[in-house]
Symmetry: C2
Subunit: 292 residues, 2 copies
């Protein structure tokens, strides 16, 4: 049970967490922090938060738990802003999709409070954003990865883990590097690939009538290209080395695939396609939870 | 109204067409043709067809309309097989995702019967296949592209158009080249991109545990990588020139994107992502019809 929770950034991720903690009876008072008053008012109307302010430092002075749910590019500034206002007992965590740069920023900004910071990443989301997109079931049966450092307080780690478990998530811990490499391959790279395809089609010689030929497969393939451009620019830059490594690997393999196609090598194509289908069918659960 | 319909290849595409024509009261007797007796029996049990045979030539002797719904790599052989058995009045059409190679094969094989052939492509489907995957609403509000040649009979074109209109599709006509270019960009290339990603992850240094980090975005992005490897090998080869052109364009743009990431050029990344999001949101209807 978290008596006083402060959520900095009341969007899809932070808002859904607050909603789910309320339903679970695991939170007392929730303070929301953001830059957009319209979004904060919407969050209050939807019962996501009890009070709000645009002043992050003021909002954390009474907090037991502080969840930073802003974009990865903005979290460094938040650490600086809240550092001197944080109670010694407060636990602080984040939700960023890239962990190396966030942990480094937190270590620098939080100083001797760094052990109370637990870097986290819920593997959940949709292409929508803002408090209006928040929903109570977002985390049920989704993974939340925590990437504690050697000097992270075990008590803080346990509290953050318990918070996510309370909203139905499956909590795991792993090293920062392993997280960033895995997310580059399964999330950051696919976003770049989808953005790149739709941008290419936007400039197609046949004009936007090309989209008349887009069926369900295309719609699903490019759904992530409707995600926030600002957020994804920040994530790509925050996890640059891992995303570049993954992107280069992809590009080399794609070139090999095109060469196989060029020489009419049906066996090589079939081998790639069969490996992919077999692997996906064995590993990806065929259930939708996020509506479109 | 089609008195006697022969569907060669009673899978998702051919089976759904027969189901929908029945519901519309637009077909009398349906003969199914295929190589798998198990699939044909299933199609008969499901009420998709009235009778079946594995002999394509025999199946067309009484037909008013012949729909070839096999993979693009197999259609050439079918044209050869049915040529001499086709009644002079019969109309013949296909459903292949690449039209240039199919039209060329039909012209060679059908000879003086070629004017009764209308090349077609319903822009609809799921990653599933076989008679068990067929469903009556597959074509409702989906585009069907017909690519008639200068010597195609206007009467045959009208009959094929009427058949697709009867099952709820939106029928358009366009030149073969334009169709193949558009489909390379919106369908064939995305399939290659998705297969390539999942194959890459199948060989990831972290092993298949990498898929533990796959959330809804990844699932949708890679759904098409669960499509038939054999079918997509045939489609890629059948539309090789257009797919290669589209793939090369994609690879060049992706390299530019990676270079922007490498130099930390947030403006360049943001421009690509914003173009993509804006274009997708303007052009892609956010409705799912095909279940997963």
């Amino acid at each position: 049970m978290i008596k006083r929770l402060t959520v900095i950034g009341v969007g899809l991720i932070g808002g859904s967490l607050a909603l789910a903690l309320r339903r679970a009876g695991e939170v007392g008072h929730v303070t929301g922090v953001g830059r957009s008053l319209a979004n904060l008012e919407l969050a209050e109307q939807r019962g996501i938060i009890d009070a709000y302010t645009t002043n992050a430092a003021e909002a954390v002075t009474q907090a037991d738990m502080v969840v930073i749910a802003v974009s990865v590019g903005a979290s460094g500034e938040i650490f600086n802003t809240v550092r001197s206002a944080l109670p010694a007992s407060a636990v602080i965590t984040d939700v960023g999709s890239a962990k190396g740069s966030v942990v480094a920023a937190a270590r620098t900004a939080l100083g001797d409070r760094f052990p109370r910071f637990v870097a986290g990443h819920p593997i959940a989301g949709t292409e929508h954003s803002g408090a209006g997109a928040a929903f109570v079931d977002l985390y049920v049966d989704h993974k939340v990865v925590l990437t504690p450092e050697p000097d992270t307080d075990q008590d803080a780690l346990a509290q953050v883990g318990a918070m996510w478990t309370a909203v139905g998530a499956d909590v795991i811990s792993m090293p920062v590097d392993a997280h960033d490499r895995a997310l580059a391959a399964t999330s950051h790279l696919p976003h770049l690939l989808a953005f790149n395809l739709v941008d290419m089609l936007a400039q197609h010689e046949d004009g936007e009538s090309i989209f008349d030929f887009a069926a369900g497969g295309f719609r699903d393939f490019t759904r992530i290209a409707s995600s926030s451009p600002q957020m994804w620019t920040e994530i790509a830059l925050a996890n640059r080395d891992a995303v570049l490594a993954s992107g280069r690997d992809y590009a080399e393999r794609f070139e090999a695939l095109l060469l196989a196609l060029e020489r009419g090598d049906s066996e090589a194509l079939l081998a790639i396609f069969e490996s992919a289908r077999h692997t996906r069918n064995r590993n990806i659960v065929q259930v939708r939870k996020d509506g479109e």
